[in-house]
């Protein structure tokens, strides 16, 4: 099993969600996060004093998938989140040893 984590532009969330549903993903966790990569922040001005804001708002999407589905899910996210502009984000996966569904106690791939 793998945990797929994607950092995407906030306005791409609906596209990514639709793409994940299209490849059969049945659940996901989404959080509002902030950070920066090659795309830096912006400037704000208050009474003539200029401030730099380094962290930009992003969305983090997390999906648990079976090993066999991981590559397809990553591809689906990348194509849905792509705009070609700097700051499109990143997608990565890590191995997961155990997953338990809280309601039923099912373990492993059955819990996905």
């Amino acid at each position: 099993m793998r945990l797929v984590t994607a950092i995407i532009k906030p306005f791409k969330l609906d596209d990514v969600k639709a793409a994940l549903e299209a490849v059969g993903v049945q659940g996901m966790t989404v959080s509002e996060v902030q950070g920066f990569g090659r795309q830096r922040g912006h400037t704000e001005v208050y009474r003539g004093a200029e401030y730099t804001v380094d962290f930009v708002p992003k969305i983090r999407v997390e999906v648990l998938v079976d090993e066999a589905d991981a590559a397809g899910v990553v591809d689906a996210i990348v194509s849905a989140a792509h705009s070609g502009a700097i700051g499109d984000g990143k997608v990565w996966t890590v191995l997961v040893d155990e997953v338990v569904r809280v309601r039923t106690g099912e373990r492993g791939p059955d819990a996905l």
């Binding site: 001005v45 208050y46 009474r47 003539g48 200029e50």
Partner: protein, 421 residues
């Protein structure tokens, strides 16, 4: 004493309520500019001024400001202590409104002026110490200066210095006091290296709107009659606010490349500040010009604190002191008896020479020196008994939780909040 006029009385009653509303307006103007963790403390400092200054004014402040002069135009006597003898005329005035109404109209000015100082020491002052400071300040600084520049027997009025609605008494006074308290209290931790941007500009814009609305009562009400002069003062007030708004955002657009909402609100207030002493002595177009000068002047002046290193957090000096000085000096150029027969010496552009400008400037020095020194001494004295500054830990936590056990905003996040009492 002239007969009571119902129109004049009705108008000044309404203006009294309008000026009261300026203090909540100021509270929100300021509260939007502080950080989210100290919003309530800023609102509270302003609202508590309404209460504390009212008590002080009724007991002693009014009689010191407007009682019969006890010598040299410096202080009023004690005849009106506790609002006694309100059937007697106000010394020096020919009013067609009840003296008690005059006393309460003037109270609203004392409240607002005291509340204005809070902006210089945002996010770091203990509530109890502020309450004591506010009460003492309204009695020992506001009331005497009101006597000097508002009471007809005050030495500034006697010397021919013009201040229609509070350039010396309100704006220069609160600005000089703000500088003094900013120095006594010291900088916020992290200032100016750390960014401390406004947490809610919508609140600030709402507050600025309420101030603008209330300012009609402040300035036009200072005519103390419902007459043509009140109308001219209202028109001038509005046009100066307009000029200030436009000039500030235009200057910002040139300097920083953007026109900001905070700039629009600040510019309007700067224009309104500058017109306060001048609204009853100017024609309409000079009032617009004054607003423009104030808007452009104050947007540059608010940068000075970074150069000099004093943390006047919400720019009381840069907007109120500088705007007040601009308005006071402007009278040396544009005051005219054509608008108000009380103008004894025409301004420079009306052929009056430099005399009035010189008088106005002497007043700036006197009001600044008195307000700054007296405020500095009061703040140091209060600080010696009840420290003005909160602990480092409380400043870091935020004054809302540390001083008032409340939070301004609850977005229903995970807080595990349960009832224990």
């Amino acid at each position: 004493m002239p007969a009571i006029d119902s129109g004049d009385t009705g108008w000044v009653l309404v203006c009294t309520a309008l000026v009261l509303l300026m203090t909540p307006g100021l509270a929100f103007f300021y509260a939007g500019m502080v950080r989210a963790k100290s919003v309530l403390s800023m609102l509270m400092q302003n609202y508590v001024c309404i209460a504390v200054v009212s008590v002080v004014w009724v007991v002693l402040g009014y009689t010191i400001a407007f009682g019969s002069d006890v010598g040299g135009g410096l202080l009023g006597g004690f005849r009106f202590t506790g609002m006694a003898h309100m059937a007697e005329p106000v010394p020096g005035y020919e009013l067609s409104i009840p003296p008690l109404l005059f006393a309460f109209f003037q109270l609203m000015f004392a409240i607002l002026t005291t509340a204005l100082i809070s902006g210089a020491m945002a996010d770091r002052v203990r509530f109890g110490a502020f309450v004591v400071f506010a009460g003492l300040w309204s009695l020992l600084v506001y009331a005497p200066l009101a006597h000097w520049a508002f009471s007809p027997s005050g030495w500034m009025v006697q010397s021919g210095m013009l201040d229609f609605a509070g350039g010396y008494v309100v704006e220069i006074n609160c600005g000089a006091a703000a500088l003094a308290v900013a120095i006594v209290v010291g900088r916020r931790h992290g200032w100016p290296r750390e960014a401390m941007p406004p947490h809610s500009l919508p609140l600030t814009l709402l507050g600025a709107g309420l101030l603008w609305f209330g300012w009609f009562g402040f300035n036009a009400g200072s005519a103390l009659k419902a007459d043509g002069l009140a109308v001219q003062a209202l028109v001038n007030t509005h046009m100066a606010g307009v000029g200030g708004l436009l000039a500030w955002i235009a200057t910002e657009r040139i300097r920083n490349g953007v026109a900001t909402t905070l700039g629009a609100a600040s510019g309007a207030v700067a224009g309104l500040v500058a017109i306060t002493p001048a609204c009853g002595y100017l024609d309409t177009l000079p009032a617009l010009l004054l607003g423009v000068l104030a808007g452009a002047g104050c947007v540059l002046a608010v940068q000075l604190k970074y150069r000099f290193g004093y943390d006047d957090s919400l720019d009381v000096v840069g907007v109120h002191y500088v705007g007040g000085v601009i308005g006071i000096l402007f009278l040396g150029f544009f005051a005219t008896s054509g608008v108000n027969p009380a103008v004894a010496h025409e301004g420079l552009v009306y052929g009056g020479g430099f005399g009035q400008l010189g008088r106005q400037a002497v007043g700036v020095v006197a009001a600044t020196a008195f307000s700054f020194l007296a405020t500095y001494l009061i703040a140091r004295a209060v600080n010696a008994v009840i420290p003005l500054r909160v602990s480092d830990e409380d400043e870091d936590t935020g004054l809302d939780q540390a001083l008032h056990s409340e939070s301004a905003y609850d977005f229903g996040s995970v807080r595990s909040m349960g009832r224990i009492g």
